[in-house]
């Protein structure tokens, strides 16, 4: 929802931090894009070196499994 004026939905967005192993220079940007393109995903931030990956998303629109699949299908190991 709009935090400034209090209008809109408490839209159920939640922020998760994953620990992801296996980022390489070639795939970081592509992973970020794939995540941002998913319904309800509003923000993605990846620290490629340590693997810390922050995702702001709406579980009603994209399932956690689908996010995990983005990592898994690229050979990345992700843990919450």
């Amino acid at each position: 929802m709009c935090k400034e004026c209090g209008c809109g939905q408490t839209n159920g967005n939640t922020r998760l931090q994953f620990q992801v192993n296996g980022y390489a220079e070639e795939n970081v940007h592509e992973v970020e894009k794939a995540l941002l393109g998913m319904p309800g995903v509003m923000y993605v931030h990846i620290h490629a070196d340590e693997g810390a990956t922050t995702i702001d998303y709406n579980p009603a629109k994209t399932k956690l499994m689908e996010i995990m699949n983005v990592f898994a299908s690229r050979g990345l190991e992700a843990a919450l």
Binding site: M1, C7, G8, Q9, K33, M42
Partner: protein
């Protein structure tokens, strides 16, 4: 407890939005929710659209505005039916506001209703008003970082009109980067670089509207 109240308001909004949508569907009228920051060029785009299409498509406009009738007055000059909704300071239109004015439109005699929302890149994206589609106008002077900074409105909008390309040479706006960012947060969104003053690129916008109206007439819906 506050959250509960909020959910009630939103539940009510979605209910009324569904009623509005059903009415537009029954009348085969394509309803467009036109969004964008203050000054992005929503009304200017509408003025050009009316001049180009009013003999071809039966249009009406609903103008959302905080207090004034300035935009409605601009629209009225084109001889298109226009209804003003003043939100009295409210930052967005909601479905009940739109529902309350729909009886004043002869929907049987219309193909297209464009609802210009209150200028704001944040709040209006949260409220369905019963539209078939949302379109957002982003102008070159706002900066190319806006899609990633205000993702919801770009995720929600089927079309992103990148307006004021006539002044591209005088700004640091990177058209390619903005287009890529929009494609990133909303794969499949249509991006239309235009100038509503010089009319560059507007043909593609008109074509999109024509096709949307045509589809609605033939009974497809989203």
């Amino acid at each position: 407890m506050e959250i509960q109240v909020m959910q009630d308001i939103l539940g009510k909004n979605d209910e009324v939005a569904a009623e509005n949508q059903a009415l537009f569907a029954a009348k085969k009228v394509f309803a467009l929710n036109l969004l964008g920051s203050p000054g992005a060029g929503k009304t200017t785009l509408l003025e050009k659209t009316m001049a180009a299409l009013k003999d071809e498509l039966r249009m009406a406009v609903i103008e959302g505005d905080l207090f004034t009738t300035k935009d409605a007055d601009r629209i009225a000059r084109y001889g298109v039916p226009v209804i003003q909704i003043n939100t009295s300071g409210g930052c967005h239109l909601d479905a009940p506001m739109v529902q309350s004015v729909l009886p004043r439109l002869d929907l049987d005699a219309l193909d297209l209703v464009v609802i210009e929302n209150v200028g704001n890149l944040v709040c209006p994206a949260e409220f369905n008003i019963g539209e078939d589609e949302k379109a957002v106008v982003l102008s070159i002077t706002e900066g190319d970082d806006k899609p990633l900074k205000y993702p919801l409105i770009f995720k929600e909008s089927a079309v992103v009109v990148l307006n004021k390309v006539d002044i591209l040479p005088y700004t640091n706006f990177n058209l390619e980067a903005a287009t890529e960012d929009i494609a990133t947060i909303h794969p499949g969104a249509m991006v239309l670089p235009v100038s509503s003053t010089t009319e560059e690129g507007l043909f593609a916008w008109y074509q999109w509207l024509r096709q949307a109206v045509q589809k609605k007439r033939e009974g497809y819906s989203e």
